[in-house]
Amino acid sequence: MDYKGQKLAELLYTYLIVIFGVIAWIFGYFKQSFKVTFQGWLAGLIFCMVLCVPDWPIYNRNPVEWLTEIPPPKPKPAKSTGEEDKAVEKDKAVEKKKTKNRKR
């Protein structure tokens, strides 16, 4: 539900419950029964709960406009990876062998 939808929902139930209640009161007064008034009020309340609580599509007609996405910063230069380390070690090993051979 967007902001205008929230405002609309609030407006709807604020007026509808009162209108239902007043009509129910008038009916109750002429029937001389408070039960009639109470039932009318309850009907109004339940109607407004169905109307204003779920996120109906009419409350989503003015979606919030978000800013366009800011591009992420450029990645830093790549560090040495495991592959490279292994290669270096291999080179060192080869060099050691060579020196050994020379000593002999």
Binding site: K31, F38, M49, D55
Partner: protein, 185 residues
């Protein structure tokens, strides 16, 4: 469809907020309706204008069955006549009337003693018209001490308005005095 689903999961808490708002706003409206109902009957309750008012035609002690000392305290058993028309008390904001017969007397120890002798819950307008002769009391007239002999007791019919909404209040008819005998019998 996808969009509404997504916004639904993102703002899940607003369902509870709105449900709470609608329900408690509704309760406030109900309070307003209740106050309006109370106001609509106020004139009749207070007896302004030419509204008919409840009438007690008769309340009278009929027969004294006994006046005895019962474990140190005085106790009287009696019967009474009652004729009343409480229908004018009824309107759409009245749930029921609690009607009772009250004995009031002054004794040496207490300035005012009040004892309920009989009661009835009147729920419908038809029942509000009452006429009984020689009805026996439900609850004995028991004194705090032993000072019932030679006392003047006033009998009243009191009716308690119990409304659907609004304040509770009582009305009473005219008292009807009778003398208790000077000795036990």
């Amino acid at each position: 469809m996808l969009l509404s689903l997504e916004s639904g999961t993102r703002s899940m808490h607003t369902y509870w907020v709105r449900l709470n708002a609608v329900f408690f706003y509704g309760l406030n409206v109900l309070l307003g309706l209740a106050v309006m109902t109370w106001l609509s009957c106020l004139q009749q309750d207070l007896g302004f204008g030419d509204y008919p008012q409840p009438v007690i035609h008769k309340i009278k002690m009929n027969d004294l069955l006994s006046l005895r000392s019962h474990g140190g305290v005085d106790r009287a058993l009696l019967s009474f006549d009652l004729a009343a028309d409480l229908r004018p008390a009824f309107h759409w904001n009245l749930k029921q009337l609690f009607v009772f017969v009250l004995a009031e007397y002054e004794s040496e120890s207490n300035k005012l003693n009040q004892v309920i002798l009989w009661d009835k819950i009147v729920e419908t307008e038809e029942d509000a018209q009452m006429a009984t002769d020689n009805a026996y009391i439900k609850y004995a007239l028991v004194d705090q001490g032993n000072e019932l002999r030679n006392t003047t007791v006033n009998l009243y019919v009191v009716w308690d308005h119990m409304p659907v909404t609004g304040r509770l209040f009582m009305n009473r008819g005219k008292g009807s005095p009778f003398e208790l005998p000077p000795s036990y019998r």
